[in-house]
């Protein structure tokens, strides 16, 4: 190829790449490796200003014996699985019904995207007001039909459910947008063939659209599983992990350890447990998605 022999071209292209690599090394690789090294040492700011000696896997072992951390894992799992399932199902349904090119459908699509572009922090404040037990809109509406609504964010029983609902509200549009893009690449011949065979709407949905869209579903699954596992902003602004530890997801647990208790090494170790876990999920889902896609759509 042209590039192989052309040294000057290669050198210039390399200088194009250099700034990006430098930035990534300083602002990503260095912090990540630094936190890895701290996770094997003993360091709490309450005891000393500098990291102390090497303690091996102690911080990691401590994490798996810490009931609060184990509880955080459980809550993260519930959050992640419930939120992701609802987002995929609702996103698919809404996308299916908003396909089309008339004015109202286009307008609806524009409106439906909005929750996704606002700051998760602002999303949190909106829902803090909506779900307020005394004067929030939700409970006002419930009172209107004669039901006394619970203290959504303030009671341990409903807080987790509420923060999950907030996540669903903000991120179902993401699933919708990706599914809409998926619908647009279904070949028209498939629809025509379905029509020739006399398939109605339901049959077309069942035998054409859903099988074709499954690889897209896996992409949504990948992004939402990872992102819900890493959720923090919206919970930070609504319950801050409470009441008790009922919404204390892993990321918030780490945040507490790092920036409230200053257990630096422990926070690093737990964040590495989370990293490894999310990367495993992301990598395996990426591979799986590719396999499904090749199987469904051909190479």
């Amino acid at each position: 190829m042209l590039l192989k022999k052309n040294w000057q071209e290669k050198r210039t292209l390399f200088t194009f790449l250099l700034p990006a690599i430098l930035i990534l090394l300083v602002s990503q690789a260095y912090p990540i490796l630094y936190s890895l090294s701290i996770s094997f040492r003993q360091w709490a700011l309450a005891e000393s200003l500098k990291p102390k000696g090497f303690v091996g896997f102690n911080n990691y072992i401590k994490a798996f014996k810490d009931p609060i951390f184990l509880n955080a894992i459980r809550i993260s799992f519930v959050f992640c699985i419930v939120a992701t399932s609802f987002e995929i199902i609702l996103g698919f349904i809404i996308a299916y019904f908003t396909v089309g090119e008339n004015f109202f459908l286009r307008l609806s699509r524009t409106i439906l995207i909005l929750p996704m572009v606002i700051a998760p922090v602002a999303n949190g404040t909106i829902w803090r007001m909506m779900l307020n037990s005394q004067s929030g809109l939700i409970n006002q509406l419930l009172r209107f039909i004669g039901i006394q609504g619970p203290n959504w964010l303030g009671a341990p029983g409903s807080a987790l459910f509420s923060v999950i609902a907030i996540d669903i509200w903000q991120w179902t549009p993401f699933a919708m947008v990706v599914f809409l893009a998926g619908f647009s690449i279904i070949p028209n011949e498939l629809y025509d063939a379905a029509k020739v065979d006399g398939a109605g709407r339901l049959k077309t949905l069942r035998y054409i659209i859903i099988p074709y869209i499954i690889p897209i579903g896996f992409i949504v699954l990948l992004f939402r599983l990872v992102d819900t596992l890493l959720v923090i902003d919206a919970i930070y602004t609504t319950t801050f992990g409470g009441p008790g530890f009922s919404t204390n997801v892993i990321t918030l647990f780490i945040y507490w350890q790092a920036l409230r208790y200053f257990n630096i090494s422990y926070a690093s170790a737990t964040s590495w447990i989370l990293s490894i876990f999310t990367l495993l999920i992301a990598l395996s889902l990426m591979r799986f998605q590719k396999r499904v896609q090749t199987k469904m759509w051909g190479a």
Binding site: A20, I113, A119, V121, A122, A181, L229, D233, T237, I264
Partner: protein, 280 residues
């Protein structure tokens, strides 16, 4: 028979879409109404939904000298603009280079893969090392610290997005530039960039949203002066009493620019959101 079935479908469609749109719009309207409501309307039982009198007091207060929102708004604008410029410039150069290199050397595909992983690991890992790094560089509570943090998240995204656009450029276009004797720089600016402008726009929009909304890392390196708007909002949370008016006003200020973005650049936005998910 067929006619009846179609109209059932449309009825169902209408109900579902209507309900979804309502679910999205009501909280936003509620927020906005709260930001123009008088204090006493919050205190009645039950609180008044529709303001008895419209007030822009909270906005005025927020933008007054003591409210300081102007400073934070300025911070947010500065950070976001800097992050967009730097990420898009450096990111697309790198993407162009990677797109060319990886067609010849497989090793560069690995780099692309590693860059992609930045999207998938918990940002909470970064907060401590990042805090220490910025402390050592004496950048704590400076805008530059926030800018570097956001570039380090935004730029990999730009690379990932732009590689797709550069890959689609036909080889002939590049070669015709070579024959005319253009060096890589000149070719990049004169030939490649104009073709990929939609990609650049998409990248810029996505980076702007990311930087404008980012809270976690910014909050860990900022204490007083370099606060951005999302950090200001989170500050209202610790207040126990009803402080809804000011909180709603500030939240509206944060949300509005992104709304306008979404409305006017929808085409690019959707492309950015689905890119990597669905090609084309």
């Amino acid at each position: 028979m067929l006619k009846v079935r179609i109209s059932y479908f449309n009825l169902l469609r209408f109900l579902i879409v209507f309900f979804a749109v309502l679910t999205v719009l009501v909280p936003f309207c509620y927020l906005f109404l709260n930001s123009i409501k008088l204090e006493r309307d919050f205190r009645t039982i039950p609180p008044k939904l529709i303001p008895s009198e419209i007030t822009f007091e909270y906005y005025r207060e927020a933008f007054s000298k003591s409210g300081k929102i102007s400073n934070y708004l300025m911070n947010s604008v500065l950070v976001t603009s800097a992050v967009v410029l730097i990420s898009v410039f450096i990111g697309s150069l790198a993407a162009y280079s990677l797109s060319r290199f990886r067609k010849v050397y497989r090793f560069f595909s690995l780099i692309v893969y590693v860059i992609l992983l930045v999207r998938f690991y918990p940002k909470v890992v970064m907060i401590i090392p990042y805090f220490i790094l910025m402390k050592n560089l004496m950048l704590l509570d400076r805008l530059l610290a926030v800018i570097i943090a956001h570039v380090s998240i935004g730029m990999p995204f730009v690379v990932w997005l732009m590689i797709g656009f550069f890959d689609e450029i036909p080889k002939e276009l590049e070669e015709s530039g070579m024959i005319d004797g253009c060096g890589p720089w000149k070719r990049f600016i004169k030939i490649i960039l104009p073709v990929t402008l939609p990609g650049i726009a998409t990248a810029a929009i996505m980076t702007a949203i990311l930087s404008w909304n980012e809270f976690l890392i910014a909050s860990s390196v900022v204490s007083v002066n370099a606060k951005t708007l999302p950090i200001l909002i989170s500050g209202y949370i610790s207040d126990k009493g009803i402080n809804w008016g000011p909180m709603s006003a500030v939240s509206s200020v944060v949300i509005l620019p992104m709304f306008l973005f979404a409305l006017f650049t929808q085409k690019y936005l959707v492309r950015g959101l689905t890119f990597g998910a669905v090609k084309g």
